[in-house]
C-alpha cells in the first residue's frame, strides 16, 4: 500500500508538469500581447521591448517555461505582469474562498444525494422513487448559473434580501488582507447560495448513480444473507449495502472535480466572489501569463491529488481492493 501511494505521488509530478506546460504553450499562442495592456498609453516599441526583456518574454518559449519551473522549485510563482503582485500571494488569498465553496457544495450534494439515492432504491417504483428520480433529472439539467439565478430570485429578491446577492465575508481567523469583513454568520450567508448552486447538479448526478448502484447491491446474496441472519434494515442498508454502493459514486465524485472547478468559475462570477475561479478567468482573459500559470498549477494539482484520494478511498470502502 505504501509503495502504491509513493508511486502515485511520484506520478503527480509528470501530470502536473504536462498540464502546466500545455497551458504555457497554449497561452503563448493566444493572439494579443500582455505588454500592450501593461503599457497602455505609454506603449512605444522601445518600452515594449524593455518590458518584454524585464519579464523574460523575449526568450524562446521552452526557455521561458524552464525559467518559470526553476523559480517555482524555489517557491517563487512569479509576479503578475499586469498587477505587479506576487502570484503565490494572490493564489493564497483566493484559494480558501474556492476551497470553502467546493467543500460545502460537495457537502450539499451528499446531504441530498445519499438519502435520496437510498430511498429511491429501497422503494423502487413508488412515489418516493419517482420523486427522487424526477427531481434528480431536473437537477442534472440545470446549469450552475441558472440555479444561481433561481436562488437569487428566491432568497435575495423574494425573501427581501434574506441572503446577500454578491460579495464575501471571511471566516474568523482567515482574513488574508489588512482589512476585510469577518463573521461566521456573514460567511455562512454569503456562501450558502453559491454552495447550493454548485452542489445541486452534483446532488442530482450522485442521486442517480447511488440509486442505480444501491439497486444492484441490495439484490446481491450477501445482503440477503445479512437480512437472513436477522440484522435490522438499518445496519443492512447503512453498513452492508451503502458502503459498496458508494464505490462508483466516489469515482464519479472524483471525476466531478474538473466540473466543480469550472462550476466554481461560473458561480464565483455570478455571485462576485473573490475566489480562485474569478482569479483564473480574469487572468486568462487579460492574458496575464504568470497568473494563468499559477491558476493552472493549483487546478492541475487539485485534480490529480483528488483522484489519488478517490483511489485510496476504494480500499477503505471495499477491503478486497488492495494496492500493491
Amino acid at each position: 500500500m505504501r509503495t502504491y501511494i509513493l508511486r502515485r505521488l511520484l506520478q503527480i509530478v509528470p501530470t502536473v508538469l504536462g498540464i502546466t506546460f500545455v497551458v504555457f504553450l497554449m497561452m503563448r499562442s493566444v493572439p494579443g500581447d500582455p505588454v500592450v495592456a501593461l503599457l497602455g498609453d505609454a506603449y512605444t516599441e522601445e518600452n515594449a521591448a524593455q518590458a518584454r526583456h524585464t519579464y523574460g518574454l523575449d526568450k524562446p518559449i521552452l526557455v521561458q517555461y524552464l525559467i518559470w519551473l526553476g523559480k517555482l522549485v524555489q517557491g517563487d510563482w512569479g509576479t503578475s505582469i499586469l498587477s505587479g503582485r506576487p502570484v503565490l500571494k494572490d493564489v493564497m488569498v483566493r484559494l480558501p474562498v474556492t476551497l470553502e465553496l467546493i467543500v460545502l457544495s460537495m457537502g450539499v450534494a451528499l446531504i441530498i444525494a445519499v438519502p435520496a439515492g437510498i430511498i429511491g432504491a429501497l422503494r423502487q417504483n413508488t412515489w418516493a422513487d419517482y420523486t427522487a428520480t424526477s427531481v434528480a433529472m431536473i437537477g442534472v439539467s440545470i446549469p450552475e448559473f441558472f440555479a444561481g439565478v433561481l436562488l437569487l430570485l428566491v432568497f435575495s429578491l423574494g425573501l427581501h434580501g434574506a441572503l446577500p446577492s454578491s460579495g464575501w465575508v471571511y471566516l474568523p481567523g482567515t482574513c488574508p488582507m489588512m482589512v476585510c469583513g469577518v463573521s461566521f454568520l456573514g460567511n455562512l450567508q454569503h456562501v450558502l447560495m453559491p454552495a447550493i448552486a454548485l452542489g445541486i447538479g452534483r446532488a442530482a448526478l450522485l442521486t442517480r448513480l447511488l440509486r442505480a448502484s444501491m439497486l444492484e447491491v441490495i439484490r446481491t446474496e450477501y445482503v440477503t444473507t445479512a437480512r437472513a441472519k436477522g440484522l435490522g434494515e438499518r445496519p443492512v442498508v447503512l453498513k452492508h449495502a451503502l458502503k459498496n454502493a458508494l464505490i462508483p459514486t466516489i469515482t464519479v465524485m472524483g471525476l466531478q472535480v474538473g466540473f466543480l472547478i469550472g462550476g466554481a468559475i461560473v458561480v464565483e462570477t455570478l455571485f462576485a466572489m473573490p475566489g480562485l475561479g474569478t482569479f483564473g478567468i480574469d487572468a486568462i482573459i487579460a492574458r496575464d501569463y504568470q497568473q494563468v500559470q499559477g491558476f493552472a498549477l493549483v487546478t492541475a494539482f487539485a485534480f490529480v491529488v483528488i483522484n489519488l484520494v478517490v483511489d485510496l478511498t476504494y480500499s477503505f470502502l471495499d477491503p478486497r481492493i488492495r494496492y500493491a
Binding site: 439539467s141 446549469p143 472547478i261
Partner: protein, 308 residues
C-alpha cells in the same frame, strides 16, 4: 397478454404468422424501438427536442421581431401582449432573442458532438483494433486532453480562437467544445473494440481475407453503435450547457448574435428590477437540456435494458 388473447380468439385454421408483441425472431433494433416507444418520459424528451429543432429551423418565421434590432423607446418593457417576454436594456424583444437563441444552442450542441464523434470514433477504433504503438500514441494524446478540467481547456481554447459574432463565432465554439469531447468517444469506442475484436466472427472475417477497413466498418462499428448513440444524445445536453456557460463567461458567440447564456449574463445586472430578463433565457437552456437528457436516458434504457 393481449396478444395471447388475440391469437387465441382467431378462428381455427386461420394462418397466424406474427403476433404483435416481441417475438424471438424480432431484431434487436425493433425491440429497442418498441421499448423506447413505451417509455413515456423518453417520448416527452423527444417531443421537447423535436419542438426546439423546429423552433430553431423556423426561427425567422416564428420570431415576432428582429432579435438584434434595438428600440430605445421600449427598453425594459414588462411582459405584455406586444412583448410576450418583455424587452431588454436595448429594447430588444426577448421572445425573438430566445427563439433565435435556440439556433446557437442547438447548432453548437449538435455540431460539436457530431464533430467529436467523427474524429473520436475512428481514433478509438484504430487504437483498439491495431493496438501497440498506434494505441499508445492515440490514447496518451486523449489522456492528455482528459487530464484537463473540461472548462479550463474549453476556456483557454476559446481565448486562443478569439470569440467573435455570427457564423464564424459559432464555429469557433463548436471547435472548442468538440476538442474537449473527442477523448470521450475515443475511449468509449476503444474499449468496445478491444472486446469485440477477440470475438470469433471477427476471426472468421480475417480468415476469409476481409480487409481491415471493411472489418472495422461493417463488423465492428455496428456492434459499438448502442453506447455511441446514447453518449451522443446525452452529449448534446452537456454541450448545450458548456456553450451556455462559455457564453455566460463572455467567451461564446459574441453579441449581437442572440445567445441564451449571454442574454442571461447580460441581464443578471438588472435582476432586482427586471427578474424575468434572466429567468427566460435560463428556462430556455433548462428545458432544452432536460429534453435531450430525458430522451438520452430513454434511449439508454431501450438499447441496454440491463442498465435500467
Amino acid at each position: 397478454m393481449s396478444t395471447l388473447r388475440e391469437v387465441e380468439l382467431r378462428p381455427v385454421g386461420e394462418l397466424v404468422l406474427e403476433p404483435r408483441t416481441a417475438s424471438r425472431s424480432e431484431a434487436p433494433l425493433e425491440q429497442a424501438l418498441r421499448r423506447l416507444w413505451r417509455n413515456k418520459t423518453a417520448l416527452v424528451g423527444a417531443a421537447i427536442a423535436g419542438l426546439l429543432i423546429l423552433v430553431a429551423i423556423f426561427a425567422d418565421v416564428l420570431a415576432p421581431q428582429n432579435p438584434i434590432a434595438s428600440d430605445q423607446t421600449h427598453t425594459f418593457e414588462r411582459p405584455s401582449r406586444d412583448y410576450p417576454l418583455g424587452t431588454d436594456q436595448l429594447g430588444r424583444d426577448m421572445l425573438s432573442r430566445i427563439v433565435h437563441g435556440s439556433r446557437i444552442s442547438l447548432a453548437v450542441g449538435v455540431s460539436s458532438v457530431l464533430f467529436a464523434l467523427f474524429i473520436g470514433v475512428p481514433l478509438g477504433m484504430i487504437a483498439g483494433f491495431y493496438g501497440g504503438r498506434v494505441d499508445t500514441v492515440v490514447m496518451r494524446l486523449m489522456d492528455l486532453i482528459l487530464a484537463f478540467p473540461i472548462y479550463l481547456l474549453a476556456i483557454i481554447l476559446m481565448i486562443i480562437f478569439t470569440p467573435t459574432a455570427g457564423l464564424i463565432g459559432t464555429i469557433k465554439v463548436v471547435g472548442a467544445i468538440a476538442i474537449v469531447r473527442i477523448p470521450i468517444y475515443a475511449r468509449l469506442v476503444r474499449g468496445s473494440v478491444l472486446s469485440i475484436k477477440e470475438k470469433e466472427y471477427i476471426e472468421a472475417c480475417r480468415a476469409l481475407g476481409v480487409r481491415d477497413p471493411s472489418v472495422l466498418l461493417h463488423h465492428i462499428l455496428p456492434n459499438c453503435l448502442a453506447p455511441i448513440i446514447v453518449t451522443t444524445t446525452l452529449g448534446i445536453a452537456t454541450s448545450i450547457i458548456v456553450e451556455a456557460t462559455l457564453s455566460f463567461l463572455g467567451l461564446g458567440t459574441q453579441p449581437p448574435t442572440p445567445s441564451w447564456g449571454w442574454d442571461l449574463k447580460a441581464n443578471v445586472a438588472f435582476i432586482h428590477e427586471n427578474p424575468w430578463l434572466s429567468l427566460f433565457p435560463g428556462l430556455a437552456i433548462f428545458v432544452t437540456v432536460l429534453g435531450f437528457n430525458l430522451f438520452g436516458d430513454g434511449l439508454r434504457d431501450a438499447l441496454d435494458p440491463r442498465l435500467k
